[in-house]
Symmetry: C2
Subunit: 380 residues, 2 copies
């Protein structure tokens, strides 16, 4: 194998596939990056068995030459050293050559590296997805769906299914839901697909996979193709192929958790509430669960407070737009509330309570696509 490649493109590809590479894998060769040179360009692969990422550098793109002097072949290089080496090379191009002893030579200006590589034949074959069960989304919309839900997945393995995000397709609506059983985040979008064959209703994508995917895809209006099989999901753009296993098991039915009525409704400025809760939580950090109290007051005032006797106490007054319904005293995790408010871009937020012991709902005002739910903490 031999080729000369634009170094910045190689760096970008390495960064992409590194998102799938872990030093804690049971198959040692997966600690490496597979590099394949074909007549069309260079393909890099990284995988930890759960996630596999392929990044392709086409030989030529939009009339610009990316890769030259290709002699086809493949190799696996150690991911511990290769990225830093490429990043620090002196020239804008880098030449990579292998010999039949799996030695990799990296050349750029006065730099000459020789690395011990491994035979690419030893690298596990990635599954090739044959399915028409596909639909398309804009990159930026997919990133929103991920960002607005993935933070709410469970981080403990007691109920593994909750470490994933539930993706559902019903009545031309795509719905992402995540819950760790203490809070829930959901985002819906209308999905107009021309694919009559599209057929899945309820899959669970590991939260980690979506978090890594979100780091790789650019925030633009280009299109990403999503294909679903029984146990895998593939996200595919022009030069990127991101494959993740799906989680086994049935995702709990979450719709019945969502109260269909409310007793107290608060409409207020998102950022002001977020900052008040953030401050109130400063003294609650040493509490179990970082709990703050919220209380409705006269004149559309909300009081948020927290008390840690050995440190001190804090009271935050927030002037809301309106408070309607019953008076309320409720306690909840400041962290959950901060997470929920952070992903709301809208200026104003509506919070619907159904009493101190019932879950409450947070939505942006005039936006039914986002719904978040938090279970209160029993303290009063």
């Amino acid at each position: 194998m031999r080729f000369v490649v634009q170094r910045d493109l190689l760096i970008e590809s390495i960064q992409h596939v590194m998102k799938a590479i872990s030093s804690r894998v049971t198959i040692p060769i997966l600690t490496g990056i597979k590099i394949e040179a074909s007549k069309d360009g260079i393909k890099l692969t990284g995988s930890d068995s759960d996630i596999s990422i392929e990044s392709f550098i086409p030989k030529e793109e939009d009339g610009i030459i990316n890769v030259e002097e290709i002699e086809t072949g493949s190799i696996v290089v150690q991911a511990k050293y290769f990225p830093d080496i490429i990043r620090k090379l002196p020239l804008k191009t880098v030449e990579i050559v292998t010999d039949d002893q799996f030695q990799v030579t990296i050349l750029s200006g006065g730099s000459e590296f020789h690395l011990n590589g491994q035979d690419a034949v030893e690298y596990p074959q990635l599954p090739v997805l044959h399915t028409d069960n596909s639909f398309e989304l804009k990159n930026d919309l997919l990133k929103e769906l991920i960002r607005q839900t993935v933070f709410a997945v469970s981080t403990v393995e007691t109920r593994p299914i909750l470490t994933g995000v539930n993706m559902r397709l019903e009545n031309d609506q795509l719905d992402f839901v995540a819950t760790d059983s203490h809070r829930l985040a959901s985002r819906k979008i209308p999905l107009s697909t021309e694919n009559d064959q599209l057929d899945f209703d309820n899959i669970v994508i590991p939260g980690k996979s979506l978090a890594e995917l979100n780091k790789i895809i650019d925030d633009n209006e280009e299109t990403i193709m999503i294909s679903v099989t029984e146990n895998q999901i593939l996200f595919q753009t022009k030069n990127l192929y991101f494959l993740s296993r799906l989680l086994d098991g049935n995702y709990p039915e979450t719709s019945r958790l969502i109260p269909d009525q409310s007793k107290t409704t608060v409409l207020t400025k998102t950022k002001e509430l977020l900052q008040a809760i953030d401050r109130a939580s400063l003294l609650a950090k040493e509490n179990r669960n970082n709990v703050v109290k919220l209380q409705t007051k006269a004149n559309n005032q909300l009081e948020i407070s927290s008390n840690t006797p050995e440190v001190g106490q804090v009271t935050e007054e927030v002037t809301t737009d309106t408070i309607e319904g019953e008076e309320l005293k409720i306690s909840f995790s400041a962290k959950y509330m901060i997470d929920a408010l952070k992903i709301i871009q809208e200026d104003r937020v509506k919070i619907e309570f159904t009493g101190a012991m019932r879950p409450f709902i947070i939505r942006p005002m005039d936006n039914e696509q986002i719904l978040q739910l938090i279970l209160p903490v029993r303290t009063y």
Copy 2:
């Protein structure tokens, strides 16, 4: 005590005094920040016994009101909570009030914090330096002196004196020297002082003190006053008072370490050499001491190389301006060489070797104020 202060000034003062505060102190009250309100303004103090920092916010400065409604008094607040609280408050001003139970109330907009404080009488009295043994430096020059030497202090406590920077005054020259016994960094400046009383010749300032001081002082041409007593040094600007203990003991005589002749002299581009050594060290990280080899070649070429059999090897060719004298093969710590080259701002650097087993010297070309020395490693 009571006052209303501009929040950004209070934040800046807190950041300054926090540099001296450690959670690992034997005197519990030193985990707090002392706040004193006098008719002239507000003074904050932080200390870990070794370093003490006072930051003053004058009531009025250049016609701008910084502090209002002062009722004099003092308190100690917990440094674990106070900085975050002040930083996150909603308004540009903050009101701080204490009561006779040492309760501290912090008010800003809708926020009201009550913190348990401590009686400021319990806070250790900082020594007041009475000395005329003082001289002045520009801030930016002092920062250079620190930056160009402090990285070379010892980080192990086997010879405590080497954890400090040796400051000497001789023949109207101020000299900073640091060594960990494997490498040495020194920077001299001419010092024209009008103070005939100035009398110290050899003190040792803890490296940690200088590193913290460097973070606090701004990189400008304002003046800092430096006063020295037998066991303390004070750095003083208009509103800042930075006091450090000195290290006990005699600093080793370092001048005899410096070779007065050289057998091989290399003149080359600083950045190019730095980057080549940085790359060569990539594969040397798992070696003892991160060692690379340097070898002179024909046609003014330097070869820098490193070899870790289980990973691979690297060769860097650097085209120098000139190589004069004997041929040379030498091994040294890449880290020490990188540290040394990083602080040289000049385009070109001169390296003087006296054989593979002798210390070598690194200087910027045409700048005799900076001298660095590195001991080679025995590998050939």
